[in-house]
Structure formats: structure tokens, C-alpha cells
Subunit: 223 residues, 2 copies
Amino acid sequence: MTAFDVTPRNKILRSAKRALYDHDEVYAIVDAAMICHVGYEMDGQPYVMPTLIARDGDTLLLHGSATSRTILHAGAGNPVCITVTHTDGIVLARSVFNHSINYRSAMLYGAGRTITDREEKLAALIRFTEKLLPGRWDDVRPMTPQEFKATGIVAVPIDSASAKVRAGMPIDEPDDVGLPIWGGIIPVRPVFDDPIPDSYVPDDLPVPGYLVEHVERQRERGM
Amino acid sequence: MTAFDVTPRNKILRSAKRALYDHDEVYAIVDAAMICHVGYEMDGQPYVMPTLIARDGDTLLLHGSATSRTILHAGAGNPVCITVTHTDGIVLARSVFNHSINYRSAMLYGAGRTITDREEKLAALIRFTEKLLPGRWDDVRPMTPQEFKATGIVAVPIDSASAKVRAGMPIDEPDDVGLPIWGGIIPVRPVFDDPIPDSYVPDDLPVPGYLVEHVERQRERGM
């Protein structure tokens, strides 16, 4: 298993025992997420923008209107930090101080470029659509040239990254565990509800099999 | 209802019809979230850190180890962007281009200060604990002076903010709605599972009522 080099940029400083640097472990956290938060700075002001995320090997893909500020700025080679977070539970300790949450998060660093090559951009669009819903690309109306042009995709080669995971029960002080206070966790997870058709779906058009399977998979494993 | 002034910093540029600037609407999105993503810049590198969030009127509260990089940097008056995002569903249009997700997000801007006043810090800690689980503060072992000192709280008065919401069904092109393609949404929501006690909870210690109520409330309304 290969790992990211630990440098001042990606080194986990707090609770270092929860740090992960292996590619596979960091990417598993990224791939389980539908959205990320992209951080960048313009004229001295930081911005944090939520957006869809996809991954192609060691490259992250961002997607939006070709004229959006985030896409233009990230695509121009400015440094970004892309963070993905899953909230897995509330951790209830006996002391206020030891309360926490269970989470999996990954912070990834790089500088982006706008994808201009037609084939590369098409492959990225397929990857985004298939990330949102596997099987969807082949079922829907393809892009017109105008729609293709209006869509911006930024590739961010991952220069550095790290992840941090907290899981399991509270860690109380030895003197606290005998107190008559309830300690434990409230697990939290995202669930998909049943798909809801819009008013244009004919009565005889069933929910596609790939959609039913995606909802079932998500319910089995969490998102 | 009062609103944030619209300036270049907080103006929603894309899909402006989905923009919200009213305090009440922005704060409702913040208050429904357990975590936020804090963006800041150090030595030319943006960072986006996930962390717990609480609010006291027009001030956001961040919380962490008193020696954490995020707390020290944010508490020193550097500009931050604090973003909160809820993912509410996958939006499946007939065309690739019109696929989207349903979401509620808020971006808030300000410059923080570390809370040093004892009473103010205690009030902020109560607010954080009660945000995580209403009723918890009075039930648990209070902080020792050492724990109190080791905890850092940063207050970020909100200088500017905006929110963006997408809800409801796909918006297809008029020529697309008659295609034999399923269109609609897959609703997504976070759920709390049943609380799990750790191994130190005695058999005769029930799950506290305020905890049961919190889980029930979350199940009724989503998180």
C-alpha cells in the first residue's frame, strides 16, 4: 500500500493516532462521499464551496458551470484544499470534556487545471454521472455541444493528503467510568428514501433497475 | 426579517434565484447542522477543516483544543469562511446536463477572536454541549480547571453571509420531458440509530429521557 509523504501541510497535529496517510484509506473516504468542500483564497478572503466530487486515480474532479468563480479559480492553477467529511455518530462521555463525534474526514491538496481536451472531458463527465448514480449515463439524453461547452471540469492532481478517523465508544477518564452517567454513542448515517418520480413519468415506466439497486446498496452500506 | 447586505463577497453568482440573504433563513440552515467546514489560508495554502459548530445570535462559535492550528489561527483575527451544507437528495433529470442534487448550504464570513473571559467561555461550552445533545450539560461531570484551560473557543461575529437552496424535482428542457426516461428525486437524509451504551453502563441505568427525546425529534424532522 502506498502512502502520501507526511509534510507540514498534511501532517495531522491533533490526535495523531487517528491519522491515515495511505492512499487506499484516504481514497475510500473520498469515494464514499457525494460532495466535498473546496477551499480557496481570493484577494485575502477564504471561500469554502460545497460541490460534487469524483476521483480518477490520483486526480480529483470538480464540476460546475464553466463560468463559475470556483471552477475558473480552481482551474487556473491556484492552490486548493478539498475536504470530505462523513459524520458517523455522537459520542457521549461521562465528562463534558470527553464528548466527541465519530467521523471520517480527508483533506486533499493540489492545484487544478481546466480540462479542455474533448475526450478527457467526456470521460470526466461520465465519471461524474456514474458516481452520482451508476448506470445513469447510458440511460439519459446525451449532452448537446452547447451543454458540453457550458460545463466546466477541473482536474486536481493530488499533491498531498491525509485523513482522520474517530470511531467507537467514548474514552473516559478512569475515575469517570463508575459515575452513574449514561455513556455510549448515537450512530448517525445518511439514508436514501424511496425514489419519487416527477409528474412527467408515465404510469407504465418503472423505476430503472440500476436505480433500485443503487438505493439498496446504499441502505446496506451507508453512503 | 433582517438580511445580510449583498456585497461581492457573499453575492450568489450562479442560480441567483436560489439565493437567500435573510438572517432567519441563513441561521436555520446553520442551526440544523452538527458540523461545519472552516476555511482559512496560511502561507498561501488554503485549509478546510471540519469541526463542530454552534451559534450565539449573530456570532458563530468554534471549539477545539486550545493549541489546535485552526483554533489558534481563527482566534487570532484572520478571515475565515464557515460553510454548512445539508445534502437532501439526488435529482435525476432526463438529460445528463440537468442532473443535480438537492441541498441547503450557508456560507458565513468573519474574523474570529479567542474567548478568554471565564463566564463567556463557560456559556459557550454550555451552548456547544446543548447543541450536541439538549439536556446533556446538567447530566455530566463538569470540567476541571485543567480541562477548561485546554479547551479553546473562538467567537466569529458574522460580518456577511448567504445561503443557497435547491429543492424539488428536476427541471428538464421542454423537449426532454416526453422522453421515455425516468425522472425524479432520490431523497437523502441523515438518521440517528438507537443509542448504544458502552461497557461501563450498569444494567439498571436507563437511557436518559432527554437522549430518547433527541433521537425521536431528529427522526421526525431530519437533522
